[in-house]
């Protein structure tokens, strides 16, 4: 498929509240023409490929207590037992016990675990992709401490190689690998939009500097939907007097390789950023307001590439908190009641839960936390690639009802987050529910309230 075909067969919609691939008239949720038998084999081989002691420990440990269901927004909102997080892994658990576990011989000899079929894997596509945002709330409730979200991510490795990925997620991933962005933010589009924002907001932009201390990255959602983020980030950097640059050879922070389960592409996508940062000698790479981008570069990239990264990686909220805490960044007081939505991959799964709260404190806002805020926050429902999948919309909206209730309960005037995917999920649900609340960016609020020295 060349780029023209890609545009024709999987056209992008960049106008709606949720941007992405237009709703397909006919769905193609199976890729390639692999025979069924081979699909299962490929799925399982790729599932166990990176199977170390960690994943095996988890696979052995489930006691079928079912508590994970109570932590999952999709189960809690529908009470459909199929959405029980550990059930989403059932074929993989079965295959593990039969083929790979310490007692696999016994299981096979006694026929205790049946062979997984392609029909089952097709059925499970909805559970592994549409109904899991990889938010990891289930991990927090599991009395055995099983990190179920990581296992679902690993199951996606198998599903991608077997060609069992939902239509839209596959197509944005393919586009990202081909064009450098899942949403059409190619290097030239990116460059144009950076310049446009520079003019529009009268902020000095640096792009493709040969040497710089700090390299900034952006997510496609921001480039295409919230371009003010680029101006905001630049404004903060200029204000701090830092030597920074954007790079057209490594700007895209989103990683659909990770979300869809294509490890090789995930690696390629991370390598672009790493190579660009190395080329300009950056000692710090700043990730934009994007959740999974943080997990991809901060925690996974070094391991995929097999080397320690030659620079530090910080999420923008962490960076802002550092600057506020060391006194270099002074902010004007914002006299408003604010609530903050934690992006799962940055807070619960990234460990940077406190950072946005430090920034909010510096802004002097009245922080009205939602119930279970911070590490136990309810996900927006759109993470993990779920927001790209049109057939998952009804389920995602159902999960979002939790957020509406939570936000309303705080009575806060301003909604903030530091993930553009959460933000777009809020925008889309706002439109769907005709809700009168709009999610805003923490970074943009900071950029609007810098105190000149």
């Amino acid at each position: 498929m060349n780029s023209a075909d890609l545009d024709q067969q999987h056209p992008l919609d960049l106008e709606s509240a949720r941007i992405g691939v237009r709703k397909p008239e006919q769905r193609y949720d199976l890729q390639g023409d692999t025979p069924d038998e081979a699909r299962v084999h490929t799925a399982m081989v790729n599932f166990v490929k990176d199977f170390g002691a960690t994943a095996a420990t988890y696979m052995e440990s489930c006691v079928h207590c079912g508590q994970c269901a109570e932590a999952c927004h999709f189960y809690v909102q529908t009470e459909n037992p199929r959405y029980t997080p550990i059930w989403k892994l059932e074929p993989f658990k079965q295959a593990y016990k039969r083929e790979a576990g310490p007692f696999s011989l016994i299981y096979r000899l006694l026929g205790l675990k049946k062979k997984v079929t392609t029909a089952e894997l097709k059925e499970w596509q909805e559970l592994i992709y549409d109904s899991c945002t990889l938010c990891g709330r289930c991990t927090m409730i599991c009395p055995m401490g099983i990190d179920i979200a990581t296992l679902v991510g690993q199951a996606r490795h198998g599903m991608f190689q077997a060609g069992i990925v939902p239509h839209e997620l596959w197509s944005v991933t393919e586009r990202a690998q081909r064009e450098g962005s899942p949403l059409g933010a190619t290097p030239s589009v990116f460059e144009e939009r950076v310049e446009w924002m520079g003019d529009e907001h009268e902020v000095k932009m640096f792009i493709d500097k040969e040497k710089a201390d700090v390299m900034l990255t952006m997510s496609s959602i921001e480039i295409q939907k919230y371009p003010e983020s680029m101006a905001a980030m630049a404004k903060v950097m200029n204000h701090l007097g830092l030597d920074w640059t954007f790079r057209t050879d490594g700007y895209e922070a989103t990683n659909f390789g990770l979300l869809s389960g294509n490890t090789a592409w995930q690696k390629d996508m991370s390598r672009k950023i790493v190579d660009a940062a190395r080329a300009c000698g950056a000692s710090l790479v700043i990730l934009p307001e994007c959740g999974h981008a943080y997990g991809a570069l901060r925690w996974q990239a070094a391991n995929l590439l097999g080397e320690e990264l030659p620079f530090k990686v910080r999420h923008i909220s962490e960076f802002l908190a550092e600057q506020v805490n060391n006194g270099r960044l002074k902010l004007r007081r914002v006299d408003k009641a604010v609530t903050f939505h934690d992006p799962c991959q940055v807070s619960r799964r990234g460990g940077a839960t406190q950072a946005p709260r430090d920034v909010l404190k510096a802004l002097g806002v009245e922080l009205r936390e939602m119930d279970n805020a911070g590490d136990y926050n309810w996900c927006c429902g759109g993470g993990g690639g779920v927001i790209t999948i049109h057939r998952a919309d009804p389920l995602r909206y159902k999960a979002f009802e939790i957020k509406i209730e939570q936000v309303e309960k705080t009575g806060a005037e301003v909604l903030l987050t530091s993930c553009s995917n959460c933000r777009q999920s809020f925008d889309d649900s706002q439109a769907h529910f005709h809700w009168d609340r709009t999610m805003h960016s923490l970074l943009e609020l900071v950029a609007d309230n810098l105190v000149e020295h």
């Binding site: 199977f51 170390g52 002691a53 960690t54 095996a56 420990t57 988890y58 052995e60 440990s61 489930c62 006691v63 079928h64 207590c65 079912g66 508590q67 269901a69 109570e70 189960y75 009470e79 037992p81 199929r82 029980t84 550990i86 059930w87 059932e90 576990g101 310490p102 007692f103 205790l112 991990t139 927090m140 409730i141 599991c142 009395p143 055995m144 401490g145 099983i146 990190d147 901060r298 925690w299 996974q300 990239a301 070094a302 391991n303 097999g306 080397e307 320690e308 990264l309 530090k312 990686v313 619960r348 799964r349 990234g350 460990g351 940077a352 839960t353 119930d371 279970n372 590490d375 136990y376």
Partner: protein, 219 residues
């Protein structure tokens, strides 16, 4: 050799051998798998501390979840504590442990043990009813879940019958032998199925605790 001699002799020896070898095999089969070193820059270095913290913290559901899992947690705690009292604080059991370990400890009065055993039995029945009626549990349950329930309940029932000497026509010696055999069945099954959580719980919680501690996430 009569049934009691068999239960006290070769049956016990084989059960203990399978218990120990089974656990060793299962644990070794996991921990000796490749363990890649993590090359990401750690936020904190307290990985061992994180592992221990999670091993402790997951014993009680976080406040965010408490109301939703209260019933099953209370039942779970009841039968685990009840079982521990019956197994470790009943004089005849302590004497059996002494025969293997070489030392003993004080026992609780028999009346306390009887109450604990009955309460444990009721909570296990309640948990089974839950497993059979909750749509989530019915969906995810398999042979292991029901068989493990049976081999856990069997020693309790046979033990209570032996103590009460209500042998439905059987001699006390036979009742005792049946009780012992039911315990050996539990020993033999323990390493293989979900009952392995008795030792896997430390590995599994500890693994996540160490990973999360590295990222500075909640342990």
């Amino acid at each position: 050799m009569d049934l009691l001699e068999f239960a006290r002799g070769p049956a016990m020896q084989w059960a203990l051998i399978i218990l120990v070898l089974g656990i060793t095999w299962r644990v070794a089969g996991i921990v000796f798998l490749k363990r890649k070193s993590d090359l990401s820059e750690p936020r904190t270095h307290g990985q061992w501390f994180g592992a221990v913290r999670t091993i402790l913290s997951r014993s009680v559901p976080a406040p965010a979840f408490r109301s939703r899992v209260l019933y099953s947690n209370l039942l779970g705690y009841t039968f685990h504590i009840g079982l521990a009292i019956v197994v470790f604080a009943y004089m005849p059991h302590i004497l059996w442990f002494e025969s293997i370990l070489g030392f003993q400890w004080p026992a609780l009065p028999n009346a306390v043990i009887s109450v604990a055993a009955v309460v444990t039995l009721f909570s296990l029945v309640a948990l089974l009813v839950r497993r059979l009626t909750s749509p989530v549990l019915r969906l995810i349950s398999n042979f292991d879940d029901y068989f493990s329930w049976v081999v856990t309940v069997a020693p309790l029932v046979t033990g209570l019958m032996a103590v009460a000497d209500m042998g439905v026509g059987l001699r006390y010696e036979t009742l005792l032998a049946v009780h012992l055999l039911s315990v050996w069945l539990l020993f033999i099954w323990l390493p293989f199925g979900k009952l392995g959580h008795a030792f896997l719980v430390f590995l599994s919680r500890g693994t996540t605790g160490a990973l999360f501690a590295r990222r500075g996430a909640r342990t």
